[in-house]
Symmetry: C2
Subunit: 367 residues, 2 copies
Amino acid sequence: MTEYRLTPLAQSLPATVPFVGPETQERNMGRQFDARLGANENVFGPSPHAIKAMAEAGHWMYGDPESHDLRQALATHHGTTPDHIIVGEGIDGLLGYVVRLFVEQGDAVVTSDGAYPTFNYHVAGFGGGLHKVPYKDDHEDPAALFAKAAEVDAKLVYLANPDNPMGSWHKGEDIAAALERLPARSLLVLDEAYVETAPEGTALPLAWGDPRVIRMRTFSKAYGMAGARVGYAIAAPELITAFHKVRNHFGMNRAAQAGAVAALADQAWLAVVKDRIAQARIQIAQIGRDNGLMPLPSATNFVTLDCGSDAAFAKAILDGLVARGIFVRMPFVAPQNRCIRVSCGTNADHAAFAAALPAAIAAAKKG
Amino acid sequence: MTEYRLTPLAQSLPATVPFVGPETQERNMGRQFDARLGANENVFGPSPHAIKAMAEAGHWMYGDPESHDLRQALATHHGTTPDHIIVGEGIDGLLGYVVRLFVEQGDAVVTSDGAYPTFNYHVAGFGGGLHKVPYKDDHEDPAALFAKAAEVDAKLVYLANPDNPMGSWHKGEDIAAALERLPARSLLVLDEAYVETAPEGTALPLAWGDPRVIRMRTFSKAYGMAGARVGYAIAAPELITAFHKVRNHFGMNRAAQAGAVAALADQAWLAVVKDRIAQARIQIAQIGRDNGLMPLPSATNFVTLDCGSDAAFAKAILDGLVARGIFVRMPFVAPQNRCIRVSCGTNADHAAFAAALPAAIAAAKKG
């Protein structure tokens, strides 16, 4: 075996995946899942106009490296200008870029213990030092995050609103008020991936007024296009410009660009999907209650169910569900890992979940 | 304006784009190009089966982070195993990953002066020091590249075969022979993006036998799927594993994965496209000759035309073509920049090119 001269940092990194995909689990099990409720995908899918636009895209041409039409449409939608917007290969891709721009070995970064692991993966990947604060009553805790940022002189602070994996949320005005405590030289990475399914007033009202905030949005959730890989960020133009120094300029799929433009234009479809998601949350919550699990309030396209005991019990229920063909996931960190997390599905998905859950719980109780 | 705390490296980087997209040029001109012959796209497009597969993909689901089915199909196609293969967001994305894995500030990297600028962009982006050797008779020069690698203790050496922007190529066996001079601890990044359109025997015959070589391939050229963003690399499993430490695991577009599987399975379509490309090369060469430009031999889906003078003259012809609605590009570096580069198009594209070229040359001669 050749000894490859990886950088010391690369050598030190584990070759681990933040999430194991459902397809991997299916291959390992030798069967397909009956219900795919683990990745917070949106089974109601994209606007028919978006599907059509993607099918009709000229696949032979590279995408526009400026994502001009999409940035223009997003700017109009959000009441800003395109120089405030960067489009990238999903929020995951954009998180990688922002971490790369800010973090080198030893730089401090703050997040919540149990928040999005892919952000942590990027921070580790560039040698940053992660400082974590606990959730507070199943909510991320902006005051604690910003206090920790001051304490460790954090370059970046990550906050998801609404939160994944708990589904909880803060009012945008409360986050705006908490920003007074954000250190002047820290950048808040505000992940609003789920904001379209949240109550009015959840999005940060400051909009792009505060240059210390970069907001992440996506077409993967409410817009139903997870497979297309279209995320975007909204920030001050000076910060947006920095992305051009490191991004994969021709990295965007051309059909996905066209699909996102069409999806954004079809707000009527988005309204239909939001209604279906709201109905699905009620169904999942009821299935949980019927089986003695306590649903947490959700502003997202999933419902987190408190299994009422410890991580081992929740994991046993999760394993029982997976063994019965129901793909779900669960939080990674205590005390949130007393829960399982169930994405909104179709009525058929929920019926399959409801059919499998009693036996999964019974088996978990036997131990 | 806030002073963002970018890393010193990020601060030092220019916010420049390796290539300006044709859409940007069109927006600046206020008109569409009549012929899109500048980005070495494949106007004949993907297999109809690939188009169908992309249209029917479940856009609401994330792609398989392992690209399992595609890696399996590629392994079978190349007579290897999937652990030798990594799939990524185009060769551009994979080049970014390999540079990130190997290069930190001050590390030496070797390439040809005038070779692929996006590779150089990635090297600069991670702080590497680029050492360049000249082309030799419009060919990249493996012996000189490997000698330079020994001299500067290069971690990476970049070589494209066939070459872009000159369209020239080496026999695979000649590159294999030259590998004797590659330093034991240098990694050769062999970009074979255009190999499907090259004569038999152009691909490196050593295949994955030499762990000092990583080969890059793509669905963007002969397979006609530039918009889909599917590249792959073939290397020793120990090296492939390292990619999992840094890549965007859920970065692949799900439809693109399915499309690539279908495209690979349709080798009959590939044969049709290769034939059309061969015919197109003959047409472009003839148009060049008819106008006093000397076509260089090409193993790619483009023809480089020697304009017979200096860079200023070639640039004037290029500008004249662009002004007349013909999108073409040219090499960046002397003496290759005495040429313009014309991608294979349809008969209509070539007719538009042939119609515009005499006036573009005449205007260039006037100065």
